[in-house]
Amino acid sequence: MIETHLSRRLFLGGASAAALMPGAALAQSDGRKTLAFAATCRELAGFDTIPNALVAGAARAFPDEDRTALAEKTASPDLSKSLLKTLYTGMYSPEDGDPTRFAYAEALMYAAVEDSLNVPSYCGGVPGYWAEKPVSA
């Protein structure tokens, strides 16, 4: 049901995982780690595909050792929650620092509801569309 509404995101998520990391010539082990990190993101978040902007942004936001722990599935519950919040909001919010946004419209929280709600600040449809019953009401 939800998947049928994800075409824009599927397209965005279709690029190869190696392209997620800055710098083209990644060592093979880095490439594997990147793939594993992306897989953790998908599994934890409950999405088959995730926009590049989000996975790459999260990968940049977390320190190397956290990224490794997440990729190797040895992360603490708190670290996993922190990754999930980053992916769902498009913003990395470390406990002891200021948050940094790297994505907005792509954030998974909006993807989770996009069949019925537009991302705020983007036009929702023809004027008055909101009087219609939402598709999943």
Binding site: G46, D98, A112, L117, Y122, G124, Y129, W130, K133
Partner: protein
């Protein structure tokens, strides 16, 4: 709006604004890229003119309690309506007769019908869409400029349930283009971001009046922080003094002055302007400047409806319960307007679900399920004027970057509101039950929420001994000074104040023009 009218009539007009001119596209970009997205994130910081933020008002507003007066406003050309919800209500005739009708508060020195034509003019200027003959909407001499905005699906379901409970539930009058172009602005297409920035300008905002005034010949001086009004020996205001961001001082003389610097900065300017000809500050021979501060102390309650209604489709607030706006109960407790919030709640829901430890498909489904069902009802409560609720320049020498005193606020909401707020919460619990919510899903805010309707601190009245301006919003003490702000209102009612500010501004503009060009 006053400047526009005066410039149209050929008067020489200068508009002083403490902040910069801003562009809608830049505001939208700033909003989308800001880290936490708050009401203020689209707006550039103005270091020389601090803007209080609800989340951190203690940076600027000094709260002396017992309740916080956590207001928030924008200091830029166009002001705070850049990020309003465009709810454009008229006062009811009884809202202006609280004392004589219910024995509480104060009466206006005006009758509703004195300003009815100006309400109509303001609605036409701003482009208001509203319902005809709706219960507890003010009487009118002509139709709303645009028909009422359609209710969202969520509002329609509420409407059915609320009507069965005996409430009057109506499409709220709103200064937002409803399915048509109005005044060259596009129809609202439900960007669902009215607060903090409408990306397409479908709703009215104050910058529109400034742009029209400029087109009619008014001069705009930006980054000019007015801090002192000079009073001549005859009691007339002779000049306004302002500071630039680098603390350079300028002085501008004029025949007439209109103070329109919101309900906190305006009274603060008057109180800072102590001088030989105005020892207690400008317009303050009554000692009422800064006093009688009011707002709509707010409640907000959330609950989970049984079926998905999907709040967040269309404008941020579309409908309201009006039945409690007026009645004999006002002699005992506050009038109220209740609103069904139509803002996308997904962010808070997603974070809470993650904190609970949900992951994978379970998380994603929980986010959908809860977002579709999370309902919020807010309420504005009418507060009575009390001279001990006041704003004044810091009494402890606390200053902003320009060295100007920060606003210090003493504010106590009082029992008149407390009694009504308790009743509001019970009513919301009953409404939630009707929508199939479990009692455990109902959550009420603690205390009172601010609603940015900054009212009372230059109060209007017939008697110069206990009021600051007369029925024309002209200072009793200074015949060439007018105040355009909700700070002149003797009662706050239970509805948003800006349409009434606009109606009085248009009326004032006409008076000024007639006086200058008899």
């Amino acid at each position: 709006m006053v400047a526009h009218r005066a410039a149209q009539a050929g008067l020489k007009v200068s508009i002083l604004c403490d902040g910069p001119q801003v562009q809608r596209e830049d505001l939208v970009d700033r909003f989308r890229s800001s880290d936490p997205q708050t009401m203020m994130s689209p707006y550039p910081p103005v270091p020389h003119a601090p803007q209080p933020q609800v989340a951190r008002t203690d940076d600027y507003l000094i709260q002396k309690g017992p309740h916080a007066y956590d207001q928030q406003y924008i200091r830029a050309v166009g002001g705070t309506t850049w990020h309003w919800a465009a709810a454009a209500w008229r006062y009811l005739p009884n809202d202006m007769k609280l004392k004589s009708r219910y024995g509480v508060g104060r009466d206006w020195p005006l009758d509703y019908w004195d300003i009815e034509p100006w309400y109509q003019a303001a609605e036409e200027e701003m482009g208001v869409a509203g319902p005809e003959d709706a219960p507890f909407d003010a009487p009118r001499s002509a139709p709303y400029p645009m028909p009422a905005a359609p209710l969202s699906y969520m509002d329609q379901v509420f409407h059915e349930k609320l009507t069965a409970l005996g409430y009057d539930h109506v499409s709220a009058p709103q200064a937002r283009n409803n399915q048509q172009v109005y005044d060259g602005r596009p129809p609202c297409c439900g960007n669902a971001n009215c607060m903090p920035i409408c990306p397409i300008g479908a709703q009215y905002s104050g910058n529109i009046a400034v742009e029209k005034a400029q087109a009619a010949g008014a001069e705009l001086i930006t980054n000019a922080v007015v801090h002192h009004l000079e009073v001549g020996d005859d009691g007339e205001i002779i000049a306004a003094r302002y500071l630039t961001p680098s603390r350079e001082e300028f002085r501008i003389e004029a025949d007439r002055f209109v103070l329109a610097a919101n309900g906190i900065e305006g009274p603060k300017i008057l109180l800072m302007s102590t001088q030989e000809n105005a020892p207690e500050g400008v317009a303050n021979s009554s000692d009422m400047v800064g006093r009688n501060l009011m707002d709509h102390p707010g409640t907000s309650s959330s609950f989970d409806s049984e079926v998905p209604l999907w709040p967040g489709r269309g404008p941020n607030v579309i409908s309201a319960i009006t039945s409690l706006r007026d009645g004999d109960f006002r002699s005992e407790h506050a009038a109220r307007k209740l609103m069904i919030l139509n803002m996308n709640p997904v962010e808070g829901i997603a974070k809470a679900a993650i904190d609970e430890g949900l992951t994978g498909t379970e998380l994603r489904e929980a986010v959908r399920h809860r977002t579709a069902r999370r309902q919020v009802i807010t309420a504005f409560h009418e507060q009575l004027p009390d001279p001990s609720n006041r704003i004044r320049p810091s009494t402890e020498g606390k200053t902003d970057r320009l060295g100007l005193p920060r606003p210090e606020i003493h504010y106590d909401v009082g029992d008149y509101v407390a009694r009504a707020a308790e009743d509001t919460r019970k009513r919301v619990e009953r409404i939630a039950e009707t929508l199939g919510a479990t009692a455990s899903s109902v959550e009420h805010n603690e205390g009172y929420l601010p609603n940015n309707h900054i009212t009372g601190a230059t109060i209007m009245g017939d008697d110069p001994r206990d009021s600051v301006v007369d029925a024309d919003c002209r200072a009793h003490d200074h015949p060439n000074l007018w105040i355009s702000s909700s700070s002149t209102f003797p009662s706050v009612s239970s509805v948003n104040v800006t349409l009434t500010i606009a109606a009085l501004a248009l009326r004032m503009g006409e008076h000024i023009v007639n006086e200058a060009r008899p």
